[in-house]
């Protein structure tokens, strides 16, 4: 295997391929656009045929099964401040969450898939672990994580949130980013670089919808020969399981949408005395970094509990990586870092769906 890799690398160098375009190869990009487009058509079909969009409009009348109206209203009222790093601590958390995501995907998914990959693809995934992945972001809120994932090269990111209002904010933000991007693509010389960083926001949002509902729609679509192409490589449920009445149902719905070898990311706050002191008392009452009442300590989950919820009923799911997210010592500047041993307060875990054979 190693020698084959070396040989093909040497071949690539001899062919002059080592100076491949820095980010996305043009044909890959075009191809990516095409596949994305077809997937979006699929999405549209899925949503229109089952009236998901209409349902989101009438959310106030029909209460969704796994979302508490109080929580939804809480976040809806926060929608306008979602992208303000000074009032939303999730902004400062974004880099550390994505670092964990990239590390875990790079470490586990690329390795696992490596046998079947072409050299080009492997190089690209090494550079950008999220490249060409289909990602579902559960509890996307204002789209902080969703847009970042799209910028990092994901071929499709679906954001879903029970609150239609925060998703409207996310759509608005995405719209501005994309229309701005449109100008650049239109005006600039055809350089791969800027497309890479700015990324085409291949984002699709569903507001006022729970994951269970999304999963039901997704699975109701007849798939060709049991193919898993329409499922997701990566599913993220970050800072969301502590806000739903039934985390088990959410996590099971998420797991059902995962491709074989796909990775589910869950982050929440541990239920410890320390987390009460830090996440409730310090964050909400003393420093007002988080609005009072954002979190309910009883709903926090420990890594063990989440592991049981995710892997308990499903033998194929395995916890592969777990880390705490801690604030660096001068706490005022809200700098987060990963700490693989301290999962007492904020923590994030990766759960991979292993192939059954």
């Amino acid at each position: 295997m190693v020698s084959a890799t070396l040989l093909s690398t040497a071949g690539a160098i001899l062919n002059g391929r080592h100076r491949a375009p820095p980010f996305l190869l043009r044909k890959e990009l075009v191809f990516g656009c095409f596949t994305t487009f077809s997937k979006l058509m699929y999405l549209r079909e899925a949503s229109s045929s089952n009236n998901i969009v209409d349902k989101s409009a009438s959310i106030n009348e029909v209460e969704p099964p796994n979302a508490s109206q109080i929580e939804v209203n809480k976040f809806s009222s926060f929608a306008s401040q979602w992208w303000d790093s000074r009032s939303n601590p999730l902004v400062s958390m974004n880099p550390v969450r994505i670092k964990f995501l990239r590390d875990a995907v790079h470490q586990f998914q690329v390795q696992r898939l490596s046998a079947s990959l072409t050299e080009d693809y492997k190089q690209t995934t090494h550079r950008l672990p999220l490249y060409n992945k289909q990602i579902l972001d559960i509890g996307c809120g204002g789209g902080l994580l969703t847009e970042s994932l799209s910028r990092l090269g994901a071929s499709l990111v679906v954001g879903v949130d029970a609150s239609p209002k925060v998703v409207d904010a996310a759509k608005l933000h995405s719209f501005h980013e994309s229309s701005r991007l449109f100008t650049f693509v239109h005006n600039e010389r055809q350089n791969d670089n800027e497309l890479g960083y700015n990324g085409i926001p291949r984002v699709h949002y569903f507001g006022g919808l729970t994951v269970e509902e999304l999963a039901a729609k997704w699975h109701s679509k007849p798939n060709v020969n049991g193919s898993s192409e329409h499922l997701f490589d990566i599913i993220t449920a970050l800072e969301v399981v502590e806000h739903v009445p039934n985390p088990r149902s959410l996590l099971q719905a998420a797991t059902s949408l995962l491709k074989p070898n796909g990775i589910l990311f869950v982050s929440t706050i541990n239920r410890t005395i320390k987390s009460y002191a830090i996440a409730i008392l310090a964050a909400e009452y003393f420093t007002s970094k988080v609005p009072v009442g954002t979190h309910n300590w009883e709903q926090f989950l420990s890594p063990k509990e989440v592991e049981t919820l995710v892997c308990g009923g499903d033998d194929s799911m395995k916890q592969v990586l777990l880390s705490g997210m801690v604030l660096r010592p001068p706490f005022i500047d809200m700098q987060w870092s990963l700490n693989y041993t301290d999962t007492d307060v904020n923590w994030i875990g990766a759960y991979q769906k292993h192939s059954m054979n």
């Binding site: 994505i98 590390d103 910028r151 085409i200």
Partner: protein, 607 residues
């Protein structure tokens, strides 16, 4: 790629916005961005000098970054523009070649003292090319002494061993890959190196020219800058980009207009920053030191007692500021080059004195320099000048003063003795080499202390190092006294902090200038470190500004003319300063911490 699929794609993705609204938005963007010459960059750096080009190099350096999974790859799809007002610097080989004839070539006095940390930010290849072309003035020991007291301070490279072993400081020798040398003789760590401006900038630009992710735009005059307002930040609608219009003069005399937009505009255009002034919102604290620096290159007398001093930096404190004699062009072994040995002189003093020095003939300047520089420290002079004693004659204070005097002198002597036990060479005063001629023009420049301020009006921060989509680095944000040689080092630390944040943003798929997150973090970090360094250097200036009674010092002529007496309280302060210097020199841990701070390492125990 044709735009049609993109439009289709966008309209599909965006939940099918009404086509009228969509096209309005597109046409609005078109109107602000003329189709012809508009380019978008992630980072636009205004100013291609040492700080600006070093920032560009660090941003493009993929071996440095936070994300291990993206190392050693050109993975960061960054697009950078570097705007330089002058024409682009020549390649380093031209800079070195044009000065190969011994008589017409001399080190230019415009030079910087770079700490080991700053040197490491230049990257191995830039540093290697500077060292190999003999454009570094390496110093691994430093001697500081004063004019009126017994104090002297010796730093040697070994003071940094602890920091290097802990990994708090880069080992530049491993950086330079001098593994061919025998490992038995461990080379001394550098305390720093003096590098002239021209070769430094050329060496960095050489590196940038090889990279296709950066556009190097020279001969560019920035006309207007349109940055978003403070109110645009933190909204759902992301803040507009910063728009820069500029003209670029071409070789054929034609001017070319450019419009650039950027996620982040970095002002690296010096103390008189055009960007800072035209963006506004940057209140500055500016204070003149009332001092002027005179700088030039001198040729040294190598006939006697020069051995072992080729890599020593000297600094003598005179009442109005220090004279520094810094090595240049010594990175290639001196045995191989038979040419003259040069040194860089920086002499800070009062403007009148400086103007006098500037007016001197070359030979008079050299003799004045030798006179003031080549003098040893006083050996424990009496604290109480004779003239002060009659003022308080007969009183009990005289006795008390004498007691204090003898106590301080004993303490000082004890410290001096104590130093011997640690390392005898530390206490051995070495007379700096004499200069024989001035090899370059003598330049003078006024010294000012300046630093950006913040004002927190209406609840949120204004000013500081950043405003929406704009960040200041280097002299654009701060200037200070050159006595500690920390001016460019602080700029390089700015650059390193900013490059780190840009990479974190890109690795996280975020817009570095579009959120307060990264700008706030940059500002908080730099305000703390910047004020610390500027304040520390100013403190040193104040402490050494007190003059004691000194025969033959520059101060005396003026003071004698005024008829005033010297001594008394000034002398007491001067004495405690001497005592302080000797304490630092004598007590290893204290001295090492100071050496580490000057080298750019974080002292132990500070996160």
């Amino acid at each position: 790629m044709s735009s049609a699929p993109i439009i289709r794609q966008l309209t599909t993705q965006l939940g099918r916005p009404s086509s009228r609204k969509f096209h309005q938005c597109i046409s609005r963007l078109h109107s602000t961005a003329p189709r012809s010459k508009h380019e978008h960059y992630n980072i636009v750096i205004a100013g291609g000098g040492a700080v600006g080009s070093a920032l560009a190099r660090l941003l493009l350096d993929d071996s440095f970054g936070l994300d291990a999974s993206s190392r050693n790859n050109r993975s960061r799809p960054l697009k950078i523009a570097l705007l330089e007002q002058r024409s682009s610097p020549p390649p380093l080989c031209d800079v070195v070649d044009s000065s190969s004839e011994p008589n017409s070539s001399f080190p230019h006095p415009r030079a910087y003292a770079l700490s080991p940390t700053s040197l490491s930010y230049l990257g191995p290849s830039v540093l290697q090319s500077l060292v190999r072309s003999n454009r570094c003035g390496i110093y691994d020991s430093m001697q500081i002494w004063e004019h009126d007291g017994p104090a002297q301070l010796h730093f040697v490279g070994d003071d940094l061993d602890g920091a290097i072993n802990d990994g708090r400081l880069v080992n530049l020798h491993s950086y330079l890959q001098k593994s061919d040398e025998s490992d038995a003789v461990k080379p001394k760590p550098w305390l720093g190196a003096v590098v002239e401006d021209a070769p430094l900038v050329s060496a960095i630009w050489d590196e940038l020219r090889n990279d296709d992710r950066i556009d190097l735009l020279d001969n560019v005059q920035i006309k207007t800058i349109e940055a978003p307002s403070y109110n645009a930040m933190g909204k759902i609608e992301p803040p507009p980009h910063v728009y820069i219009t500029c003209t670029r003069s071409q070789k054929d005399g034609q001017d070319e207009n450019h419009t650039l937009s950027a996620d982040l505009l970095v002002a690296a255009d010096g103390a008189n920053s055009f960007v800072r002034k035209s963006v506004g919102n940057f209140p500055m604290m500016t204070r003149s030191y009332g001092r002027k620096a005179v700088t030039c290159t001198v040729e040294l007398d190598t006939s006697k007692s020069y051995q072992g001093m080729a890599k020593t930096a000297f600094q003598r404190f005179l009442p109005y500021g220090p004279i520094a004699l810094l090595p240049v062009w010594n990175s290639v072994d001196t045995n191989q080059t038979s040419g003259p040995i040069y040194a860089n002189v920086v002499w800070s003093t009062t403007p009148s004195e400086a103007n006098h020095l500037l007016s001197l003939s070359s030979s008079d300047f050299v003799s004045t320099l030798n006179h003031y520089l080549c003098q040893g420290p006083n050996v424990n002079p009496s604290l109480l000048a004779d003239s002060t004693v009659p003022c308080i004659n007969g009183s009990v204070f005289t006795k008390l003063a004498k007691e204090i005097d003898s106590f301080l002198r004993t303490a000082n002597t004890a410290l001096t003795m104590g130093t011997w036990t640690e390392s005898p060479s530390r206490n051995f005063f070495r007379m700096p080499p004499r200069s024989v001629r001035v090899a370059s023009p003598i330049l003078g420049f006024d010294l000012t202390l300046s630093h950006v301020l913040t004002s927190s009006g209406s609840g949120s921060r204004r000013g500081g190092y950043t405003s929406p989509r704009v960040a200041l680095v280097g002299d654009a944000a701060h200037t200070m006294h050159p006595m500690a040689g920390q001016g460019l080092n602080l700029g390089m630390a700015d650059v390193h902090a900013l490059a780190n944040l840009v990479k974190e943003a890109v690795d996280s798929g975020m817009d570095v200038g579009g959120t307060d997150l990264f700008l706030d973090r940059y500002n908080d970090d730099r305000m703390l470190k910047g004020w610390g360094m500027v304040g520390g250097v100013h403190g040193l200036h104040e402490v050494f500004g007190y003059s004691g009674s000194v025969p033959n010092s520059v101060a005396d002529t003026e003071q004698y003319q005024r008829g005033g007496s010297v001594g008394g309280i000034h002398s007491l302060l001067g004495y405690s300063r001497s005592l302080g210097m000797n304490i630092v020199n004598g007590i290893g841990p204290v001295r090492r911490v100071l050496a580490e701070v000057a080298a750019g390492a974080t002292p132990k125990g500070i996160p």
